[in-house]
């Protein structure tokens, strides 16, 4: 590859039609003979052929992906997530955590209220103790 740097190359005299028809598998028998003659004429010709073949077959292969890329639409998505602090990148996780903590809070409320209701429905009076979970626990110990 580095050799190219020493041998500046003029592509005017290249048999482009032969080379490209070869790439596309469209050589006639006669053209195939011509191409082989040209390839055997010099190592430089072979090098050129390989360089063009690599360009045609490999380097160009990702063009459809490139053509399908839409930076404007992609940027709009980035912009929607910008300025939301850390929530931009870890939005999914943050939302799940919030949901979880709400669920936990709701569960605690239900337990406290439900437990309280159950406790005071089985025992009469002593309503004043039902303010927090801690107090409830200290009350229920002598009960059992």
């Amino acid at each position: 590859m580095n050799m190219d740097e020493r041998t500046p190359y003029d592509d005017a005299g290249l048999p482009w039609d032969l080379i490209l028809s070869a790439m596309q598998g469209e050589l006639t028998k006669e053209q195939e003979v011509q191409l082989n003659e040209w390839l055997e004429a010099s190592a430089a010709n072979q090098e050129t052929y390989e360089r063009v073949a690599r360009l045609y077959r490999e380097e160009l292969a990702d063009y459809p992906l490139y053509a399908a890329a839409r930076e404007d639409e992609a940027w709009a998505k980035v912009q929607r997530r910008m300025g939301k602090g850390r929530s931009g990148v870890s939005k999914g996780r943050a939302r799940v955590l919030t949901l979880k903590s709400w669920a936990a809070a709701a569960a605690v409320v239900i337990l406290v209220v439900g437990g309280g209701l159950w406790y005071f429905s089985t025992k009469n009076g002593a309503v004043a103790y039902a303010t927090t979970a801690d107090q409830q626990r200290s009350v229920s110990l002598p009960d059992g």
Binding site: S21, W75, R86
Partner: protein
Amino acid sequence: MSPEEEQIWQAIRQRDEKIFEAYYKANYRLFFLASCKYLRDPVVAEEIVNDVFLRIWEDALTLDIQVSLKFYIYRAVVNQSLNALDKHKRERLRREELKEDLRAADEWEEMEDNELKLKFYKAIDELPTQCRKVFKLSRFEGLKQQEIAEKMGISIKTVKNHITRAMKDLHKVLLDYKHLPLWLLAVKYFFWCHH
């Protein structure tokens, strides 16, 4: 970092959204292609590029980027793409990797290859309409020269001329790239080694 990159990076650190947007749009396809190379999945590739850019934006003040902003993002995109691969495939790729420092040099080269690809693709987009159409049908749709001639109502000779014109242009892009002046290579080398 090169002076231009330094300027862009400082602007990003100062929350200059316009410059951030311009940088994103100018380089999106490079990073997008880099991710596609590993994942072959444009949807996930877009997500990965966006995640990396958002992280850059949010962590700009704490990030310490020395060698190259572009290469920093490139590596982040490649790493995240590898992480997104299934475990089996990832292990195989890792086994193929060499030492970490060699890997960095390889990735630098890989990034340059991708930049060259972008030059080819831009050159295709810049071909005259008819020529571009013929070339795309031939190279990307796999149509025979005769089929293209019939489809477009032109002679085979014209089809051949268009395809040749397109490949000549692309070949010229390749040769120009390889004949970069030596001083430019020296500058690149300086920035690469100067951390």
